[in-house]
């Protein structure tokens, strides 16, 4: 008799548990499904146009068969390298300032607000900024200008994630370092930043992956180039630009190349991120969380 309400309640509890788990699983599927779908579709459409020529040849003129995207692959690598060279140090430096040196100050609050706004600025505007900062004074498009555009885009993401990750380092760790008579700047660099480094690296990778697919900021900075060039001072090809040009063209052959380019771009991003993760995780000891 008296156990009946209890049984009912425990059934209800089991039911709501199943429902909650079900919702969580469903959400996970909804999150992962588009990613899987995009990748599968890219493989389906792009894999057939990938061959050795794609990686070692430059584009051919309309109507000619074959040709590849070697110049765009190398161009993207150069642009992203330049962008990272600008965005990563400035972003990390800014994040370290926000969390460790300027915490609570007006300057820090202003910088944080600016970074958040910068994060929401359309990428084409970043292109215009780089255009007026670099292209106009130099009087021509260049790989350098494209790198600056991507670098500026990376700064706010890197800066804010660095700050967030540093704030997660418990204060007792900072105190332990200071308590040993270590100067503050040294404690920040060797202890706090090092402790937060896995998270900071993730932030850099996110920023990297995000700008790797950017087309708009490159249109009037790097400009694109149908020929082989690694000169920082000249127009340079980039995968997203090349994909864009091919995709809006009326030729089936170019459409196929665009699909191949998109597939290669995604694969290269995954490879770059995995490589950085692998290299940086080897130094960190097992069991250190």
């Amino acid at each position: 008799m008296s156990t009946a309400p209890f049984v009912l309640r425990s059934r209800l509890r089991a039911l709501s548990d199943h429902i909650a788990t079900g919702i969580a699983v469903l959400s996970t599927i909804l999150v992962v499904a588009p990613l899987v779908a995009i990748f599968a579709y890219l493989l389906f459409k792009g894999a057939s146009s990938l061959n050795l020529d794609f990686f070692i040849k430059i584009p051919k003129a309309v109507g000619e068969e074959g040709g590849g995207m070697a110049n765009a692959i190398v161009g993207s690598a150069i642009l992203l390298g330049l962008g990272s060279l600008i965005g990563v140090p400035v972003g990390i430096g800014g994040g370290v300032f926000l969390s460790e040196f300027g915490r609570g100050t007006k300057l820090a609050n202003t910088i944080r607000f600016t970074a958040d706004v910068l994060n929401g600025v359309p990428s084409i505007v970043m292109g215009i900024v780089a255009y007026s900062l670099v292209v106009v004074p130099m009087h021509h498009f260049s790989a350098f200008a494209g790198g600056v555009a991507l670098g500026i885009m990376m700064i706010p993401t890197v800066c804010r994630t660095t700050e967030e990750m540093l704030l997660m380092v418990p204060n007792v760790i900072r105190e332990a370092a200071l308590g040993l008579g270590v100067p503050n700047w040294r404690a920040v660099l060797s202890i706090t930043v090092k402790t937060a480094s896995p998270g900071i690296i993730t932030g850099c990778m996110l920023a990297f992956a995000r700008v790797a697919g950017e087309t708009a900021p490159l249109i009037f900075t790097a400009f694109g180039n149908a020929f082989w060039s690694t000169d920082l001072n000249r127009e340079i090809a980039a995968l997203p630009l090349q994909i864009y040009i091919y995709a809006i063209s009326p030729y089936d052959d170019w459409h196929r190349l665009a699909w191949g380019g998109a597939l290669v771009l995604i694969i290269l991003i995954v490879l770059a991120v995995s490589l950085v993760r692998y290299v940086t995780s080897r130094g960190v000891l097992k069991g250190a969380n």
Binding site: G104, L178, I191, T195
Partner: protein, 252 residues
């Protein structure tokens, strides 16, 4: 060798909160001194004033004088210099999570530019022996992270880390409050051994612990030091009624 600590009219604030009011006491060299009192009475703030850790909080403020041997803590000595001579062990074990056991112990020296490998090896071994951890970790000094040890081992690692920079004073802020009884008794044994070489100041909530390890005990209440005397006197025949009430468990 340890040095004595003379504290005169020490006052400390957190913002507008006057957490320490006019503290005067002499802590003897090469002995263990316990500080007891209810939560929030200012005993932690007091030890943090001894190595100028208190002022790392931007809203904190200190006045008064603290002398440690020839060192005037609030005179022209630099905090960095002071903290090398005054080791600190915190309530929660806080090894550097990205560092190996070895690097944790060597951290204070390495981060101050000490590079002699051979000497470093010796200091690390000596410090780990002094903190009674050597036998448990000697085989994975560089293989295991400091964070992979148990809580009690981590705390002894933190003691080794503090000893490695060869301080004269060791401040311990409730070093055993997060540990199980076995680890606690190991830490207490350690304090017993270490006090012949270092001046030890230990904050504790555990009155039996104070009675076991310390020769001198100070009782703090509401930011003031009510009584400071030999541990035996404090626990058997306190002069102040409030001390007696606290010891006998009538409040706090």
């Amino acid at each position: 060798m340890g040095v004595g600590i003379e504290v005169a009219s020490l006052n400390a604030w957190y913002g507008n909160n006057h957490t320490l009011q006019d503290i005067n006491l002499n802590i003897p060299a090469n002995h263990a001194t316990a500080l007891i009192g209810p939560s929030g009475c200012g005993k932690s703030t007091f030890v943090r004033c001894l190595n100028r850790m208190h002022e790392t909080n931007p809203i904190a403020r200190v006045t008064g004088t603290v002398r440690m041997g020839d060192l005037d803590i609030y005179g022209d000595a630099k905090p960095v210099e002071i903290r090398r001579r005054v080791g600190m062990v915190f309530q929660r074990p806080n090894p550097f999570p990205t560092m190996s056991i070895y690097d944790n112990v060597a951290a204070g020296l390495k981060l101050n530019g000490f590079t002699n490998r051979r000497a470093l090896d010796e200091i690390v071994e000596k410090s780990l022996r002094n903190s009674a951890l050597w036998d448990e970790v000697k085989d994975d000094l560089k293989k295991k992270s400091g964070a992979s040890l148990s809580g009690g081992q981590q705390q002894r690692l933190c003691i080794a880390r503090a000893l490695a920079v060869d301080p004269e004073v060791l401040l311990m802020d409730e070093p055993a409050s997060a540990l199980d009884p076995v680890s606690t008794s190991k830490i207490e044994d350690l304090i017993f051994q270490l006090k012949s070489q270092y001046t030890i100041v230990i904050v504790t909530h555990n009155m039996q612990q104070a009675a076991r390890v310390a020769e001198k005990t100070g009782f703090f209440l509401n930011g003031r030091m009510v009584e400071f005397d030999s541990t035996h006197k404090i626990f058997t025949n306190p002069s102040d009624k409030r001390t007696e009430d606290y010891i006998t468990g009538r409040f706090g």
